[in-house]
């Protein structure tokens, strides 16, 4: 009965979304303004029902209900409960339901909490949100029903992709989806504002916390995903420019640009058209990213072609939403009055530069990700664009962006004096110059990008702290601290990336038991191999002794795991984290003559990359809390007539 109840809840949620859209759309006409009254409540109830449907699907997985086709295909009764739980979204149908559940709940949250938008714009926003949700409900109900039964029910399920059996990945997709779908709110806000022609500072102030919230989740999701790919895939790198990775980077770039331009709109009422455009682009990138990669069209056209109905359905939805919003933009933005003007040397100017550079990187990544697809469509050849392209194109732009990022907070709004700016940046620039000279004098040859990266990281770190210089720290608003922490996080991550790239040590050996090898400051001794068994896998585990100088030796045990259903091999790297870096050991195949492949890495400062990511997200949280507190404070004062 649980599956049927879930399906019923999904149908009800779909019907409510349609009702919400119709009420909202008809209520836009002022002569029928009474229709607007119900829209908020309908949005809340819709969110409740879709959450219920998702909860029931989780229940099916936790109870290993093998009469549900999706459970059979993606779960196994022997699995640990956490992976039964995560198995709910570790597949096409379940992740679509998660997606639409987040969409519905986000819509409900707007209906409950949004008090700043004027009535008409809010109703238009909720109607747009309902239309997006309705399309995905229809997709689930007609093309990928997660609650489909299997008759007769098999005794056992087929298991979950072993690569996905990892606590990190249990929570990575939901985090990322909160970010992706959070962008749907910015999108709906933009559509709502275009419809009512109210693209102004008030609209930006209403939209900003939602953008900030979604951006925080997106940042956390990407950071966690990058660390997962690093330790679980046994690749030993942290960013591969894989299409799946790019799919989350593209919306993040657009969202970061949006976050900054919405600040210009909220503070100075400038960049109206540009902000609306970025809101549309950010969510478009979220949709394009998730669906094209999820459906496999980018990595291999395989899974899409297996079921063209699904592919066509998704493509139709994408073109309706993105095309519709872009057409609305083109038709309406001309009638929105231009915002305030500003000088080139000003905070706005720096933020525009930031936006342009972020957009340039976004363009580079989009082209690199889609080019193979376009090439195949045009000439029929299959090719791939690898890290060399991305590093060579995105790398230099990112370095320039980092410089702009360091300078931006040191400028004033509207108009600034170049001399004054120069005097404010003098100290960071000096620190940067000292770092440059020191590096040039002492560093070994490490390549131009890592070299500049390290120098800039030091300078940017100094410049990021500069806005706090000579300020009363107790009276500095929390959102300023947020910005400082986020920017410092970029410097920290940049330092990690550059140091790792510059000083990484790698050793690949075919070793017999008893052999030793060196990597970086470590001596690794191969002590032995033994087979071990886990709950649903067996593995060969190597025992390696690592010793640094004369320090105490310690044991590390990388594994090569075999999962039986489905038959898959994974490698579990052994990682030892030290203050100055990570020792990363991977155990590979044997050659049959008693020699075993070992990959050994010493990665100096690599953890700074994820520490930086966490700082960026944490800074976002500080800003969000700071903004909310200030607004509630203002509302309270209004309420009490102060």
């Amino acid at each position: 009965m649980i599956a049927e109840a879930g399906l019923a809840a999904l149908w009800i949620a779909a019907a409510l979304a349609l009702l919400q859209f119709v009420l909202g759309a008809m209520g836009l006409n002022d002569s029928r303004a009474e229709l607007r009254a119900g829209v908020r409540s309908v949005a809340v109830v819709q969110g409740l029902f879709v959450a219920l449907a998702f909860g029931l699907l989780i229940t099916c997985f936790l109870r290993s209900d093998m009469s549900v086709k999706l459970v059979v295909e993606n779960s196994h009764s022997m699995k640990p409960w956490l992976y039964k739980f995560a198995g709910t979204w570790g597949n096409h149908e379940g992740s679509m339901l998660l997606w639409v559940a987040v969409l519905g709940i986000a819509g409900a949250a707007v209906a409950i909490f949004e008090r700043r938008l004027d009535d008409a714009t809010l109703v238009a926003t909720l109607a747009a949100q309902a239309l997006i949700a309705f399309g995905f409900y229809a997709f689930l109900l007609f093309a990928s029903n997660p609650f489909a039964r299997l008759n007769p029910a098999p005794i056992e399920g087929l298991g979950l992709n072993p690569l996905l059996q990892d606590p990190g990945l249990a929570f990575h997709p939901p985090t990322l989806y909160l970010g992706y779908v959070g962008m749907s709110i910015a999108f709906s806000f933009a559509v709502g504002a275009l419809i009512t022609r109210k693209v102004d500072a008030a609209f930006a102030r209403a939209m900003r916390p939602w953008v900030l919230g979604a951006w925080i989740f997106l940042t956390l999701g990407i950071t966690a995903g990058s660390y997962w790919a690093y330790y679980e895939l046994g690749w030993g790198g942290w960013w591969f420019w894989d299409p799946v990775e790019n799919a989350s980077l593209m919306p993040w770039l657009a969202a970061t640009a949006l976050l900054h331009s919405v600040t210009v709109l909220a503070t100075r009422d400038g960049l109206r058209a540009w902000t609306v455009m970025l809101a549309v682009v950010a969510f478009s990138m979220s949709m394009v990213g998730t669906f094209l990669v999820r459906s496999g069209i980018l990595t291999s056209v395989h899974s899409f072609a297996v079921d063209p109905t699904r592919g066509s359905f998704i493509l139709a939805l994408l073109s309706l939403y993105i095309g519709g919003a872009l057409a609305l933009f083109a038709l309406r933005i001309g009638t929105v009055k231009e915002g305030n003007q500003f000088d080139l040397v000003s905070r706005e100017g720096a933020l525009v530069a930031n936006n342009l550079l972020l957009s340039a990187i976004l363009g580079v990544v989009v082209i690199g990700t889609l080019y193979p697809l376009a090439a195949e469509a045009i000439s029929g050849t299959k090719l791939s664009v690898g890290p060399p392209y991305f590093n060579a194109t995105a790398g230099p732009i990112a370095l320039v962006l980092v410089i702009v990022m360091a300078l931006g907070p040191l400028t004033r709004w509207r108009r600034d004096n170049l001399k004054a700016v120069v005097s404010r940046v003098a100290l960071p620039v000096l620190i940067c110059a000292v770092a440059l000279l020191a590096m040039a004098a002492f560093a070994p040859p490490i390549g131009i990008l890592p070299f500049l990266g390290i120098v800039l990281a030091i300078g940017v770190g100094a410049a990021s702290l500069a806005p706090l210089w000579k300020r009363n720290l107790r009276r500095t608003p929390l959102f300023t601290y947020g910005m400082v922490v986020s920017h410092l996080g970029i410097a920290v991550a940049l330092a990690g990336m550059s140091t790792e790239r510059a000083f990484i040590k790698e050793t690949l050996v075919a070793a017999r038991i008893g052999d030793t090898a060196n990597v970086g400051p470590y001596k690794i001794k191969f002590l032995g191999i033994e087979p071990i068994a886990g709950p649903n896998w067996t593995a060969l585990e190597a025992t390696l002794q690592a010793q640094r100088g004369d320090n105490l030796p310690f044991l590390m045990k990388p594994q090569a795991r075999m999962f039986s259903s489905p038959p898959t091999e994974t490698s579990e790297a052994a990682i030892a984290t030290r203050l100055d870096g990570q020792l990363y050991l991977v155990f590979g195949k044997g050659d049959g003559t008693g020699r075993w492949q070992l990959r050994l890495w010493w990665k100096p400062m690599v953890t700074l990359i994820w520490l930086g990511g966490a700082m960026i997200a944490f800074g976002g949280m500080l800003s969000l809390i700071g903004r909310m507190r200030r607004e509630w404070g203002q509302n309270d004062r209004k309420a009490y007539g102060v």
């Binding site: 069209i297 395989h302 063209p308 493509l315 095309g323 872009l326 057409a327 697809l373 469509a377």
Partner: protein, 174 residues
């Protein structure tokens, strides 16, 4: 001029849409063709895989064009294509088999239960020959001409609809 730029994002999206749609509907997008097509078979010498069939080596591909079928007893789609392969071999097509990561007892059981269309079967225990000829899964079937050159690759089980294409490739190889 300014109004034109407002439509540029939409125009870009339309281009994107066209590319993706053509990727979605292009007919032969399921193939990851082997880089070995047009090249001679790598030299190999595989041991016996089944009790009543001889072993297979690259020297066997001389004279007339033959099919090289990569299969495994643990592969479910492989069962589906056995009747088609049997029908082909009854028409005089020589089907050579390569059993991937298999044990002789399992191969025997597979042939007993499903039929045996093969002329000779080699046992490729660690998939090394499979990878060398550019096959990434089972089943796959290659058309090899009389000089041992790989001419055509079929990915997945051969269905009745695929037979004309296979026969055409064989007759082109003559």
């Amino acid at each position: 001029m300014k109004r034109f730029w407002l439509w540029a994002p939409l125009a870009m999206f339309v281009i994107f849409f066209g590319v993706v749609a053509s990727g979605l509907y292009s007919p032969d997008d399921r193939n990851h063709p082997s880089k070995m097509i047009g090249k001679p078979l790598p030299t190999f010498d595989l041991p016996v895989a089944a009790a009543d069939r001889p072993a297979l080596s690259s020297r066997d591909f001389t004279g007339q064009p033959k099919l090289l079928n990569v299969f495994a007893s643990w592969c479910v789609p492989c069962i589906a294509e056995v009747p088609i392969l049997t029908q082909l071999s009854q028409q005089g097509v020589i089907v050579e088999g390569v059993a991937i990561r298999d044990r002789p007892a399992d191969v025997d059981r597979f042939l007993r239960q499903n039929g045996n269309p093969y002329h000779a079967i080699g046992s490729d225990v660690d998939s090394s020959i499979q990878l060398a000829i550019g096959s990434s899964g089972v089943p796959e079937t290659f058309v090899i001409d009389g000089k041992g050159v790989i001419l055509h690759q079929h990915i997945g089980a051969i269905t009745a609809e695929d037979v004309p294409a296979i026969l055409a490739a064989l007759s082109a190889a003559r």
